[in-house]
Symmetry: C2
Subunit: 345 residues, 2 copies
């Protein structure tokens, strides 16, 4: 072990926002989380929040250190200077491994290639490379980068992704639910009023606006009907740094838990509805993220339903059923065992 | 709501060691833990550690504030100045509600009487008043103090204590396991060697030294045999403050998890053995603390056994069985639901 000298006044913003500088050189085993999101997708914020809780509650003898997404390059150089043989490199989970979110994918390639000699993991992800020339090119770049790392594990959060990872990568692969399902958070008790639509406005969107209008019209019988998204408007909230993550996550839980009914095409709106026991009707995105998580892990939940139907009469019956159900529970804790075993060894 | 001004330079040591002073006046709902131990009983330290994890993982929207045991009087005055209608007052759990540990019992009386108008809880405890004049007198003092509080709940951690609480107090009562069983901590993987005895040297001790010597003699066949206690020697470690709690707790888990066999008369040595999946033979204390926790909650664990036997041949057979078992798991999470419901409402 070499003795490290760290100039604590000269550490770039975004490196270890969750720790005080003296931990960089203590003798605890370290777990580095790269790609910690600063963007306003509360689903991805909730994933990073859950990763922190997961490591800290189960492995309190590890030092958990985050590197924000905007500090990836400086973070790689910094961590290279302090990392030791036993330490672990993580890249955050989500639905962005593939060809759709290249800024994040490029960071992930850099991290896994830079730490090729260290135990590394891509935390639970959905993987999607477009089925066209662009997608194929990006897949090759990703393979090239990841395959430099001989100690890489990729965690898939749906069976569909598990198949893709096995076909695409020559790495270890494990299968667990989305990290947010590992949280213990107990929602606040609230009065419920009205209906909220949480709908995508991004490249994964498949719901037609006419259909959305029709749905909004008939849900008026349940009270006020509003529309928003779990990605906050960047004109209002430009970025979310580590220190504000918990507050934004809880505000989103409070919002969803204050509604009688949620209608969404987002995976994490569905998961937040499950946490807050809020009836929720879920539609698809472009490549089946919410659909497969629902079918693989959450099918037994009686107050949430996934559907591809556009038949408003049928949907009406579904919603009535969801709203009448006495909310049940699903315990996915045992399903995180492969991840516990990864960090334990 | 009145606007509070707090002189942050003038807060007594031991008040809020886990928070920065600005939280005293923020608008979050607050949960105060009184009686946070500074003494070297690692069982009681682990309880306070578990309470913190329990509140923070399940209720991240609450502000959790500890008051160390040595700061009880100043803490009561301080909290009176900042507490609001919805806030919650806790006194830590353990095995000290009753006539055996009067310094702690007197603090608990003061706290529940001082916050008589606030939702209050005695965290999971074993209750024991001695069956003599002294015990009766102390019971009366405790009843008098607690009954001033009209919003008090007492959590009992064994069925025996549940009966005592119902017979003794005119308060709400709930029934849950010891708080340490609510932890998610995953023990380190370690080589195991030898046998460790963890034995009381206090007023609850009932094991005879001759018998202990006999046990120590025949366990030598499993390797080195040592004797210690989960209460650290105060000549070596005089006190454990909030900042050092986690480290001491993990060191104790590491010690227990490095042994092939544990023999103890302490409840928390048993619980630490369960967490680390270490075969453990458990004997009784003066009033059945470990015995009843084992029978009420932990009976199904195949690598831990409670016994009152002094028959070394029988004990030898028991130990062989414990050491051969493929350690199983017991999930007591659902049994903390009454406590979750208490904090939720």
């Amino acid at each position: 072990m070499t003795i490290q000298t760290i100039d604590t006044n000269n550490i770039a913003k975004g490196i270890g926002p969750n720790v005080s500088p003296e931990v960089f050189t203590n003798d605890k085993r370290k777990v580095f989380l790269f790609g910690s999101p600063s963007y306003t997708n509360i689903g991805d914020q909730a994933i990073a929040y859950s990763i922190e809780k997961f490591i800290k509650s189960r492995f309190p003898y590890y030092e958990y250190i985050e590197i924000m997404d905007y500090a990836t390059d400086e973070g790689i150089e910094f961590v290279k200077g302090i990392i030791r043989e036993d330490d672990i490199v993580m890249f955050t989970g989500g639905g962005n491994l593939g060809s759709l979110y290249l800024d994040i994918e490029e960071d992930r390639r850099k991290v896994f290639a830079a730490f090729r000699d260290y135990k590394s993991i891509s935390m639970p992800q959905s993987v999607f490379f477009e089925d066209n020339e662009h997608g194929e090119q990006e897949k090759k770049k990703t393979q090239e980068a990841y395959h430099q790392n001989k100690k890489l594990t990729i965690a898939a959060r749906e069976s569909q992704t598990l198949d893709v990872v096995r076909d695409t990568f020559d790495t270890e692969v494990i299968y667990t639910p989305d990290m947010v399902m590992s949280l213990d958070v107990v929602p606040r008790e609230q009065e419920r009023e009205g209906v909220m639509f949480f709908l995508r406005a991004d490249k994964e969107k498949v719901m037609e606006e006419d259909f959305v209008s029709e749905l909004m019209e008939w849900t008026k019988k349940f009270g006020s009907v509003d529309r928003t998204d779990t990605v906050l408007d960047e004109d209002v909230v430009p970025t979310i740094d580590y220190a504000d993550r918990e507050r934004h996550f809880i505000e989103m839980l409070d919002l969803i838990g204050s509604k009688k009914l949620i209608i969404t095409d987002r995976l994490h709106t569905m998961i937040f509805s499950i946490i807050t026991k809020t009836p929720c009707l879920v539609f698809g995105n472009s490549y089946g993220k919410a659909k497969h998580s629902y079918r693989d892990w959450l099918d037994s939940i009686n107050f949430v339903e996934y559907t591809d139907s556009k038949d408003v009469e049928l949907l009406e019956q579904m919603v009535e059923k969801l709203m009448k159900a006495e909310p049940n529970e699903v315990d996915l804790r045992k399903d995180f065992k492969p991840l516990v075993d990864f960090f334990r060894s």
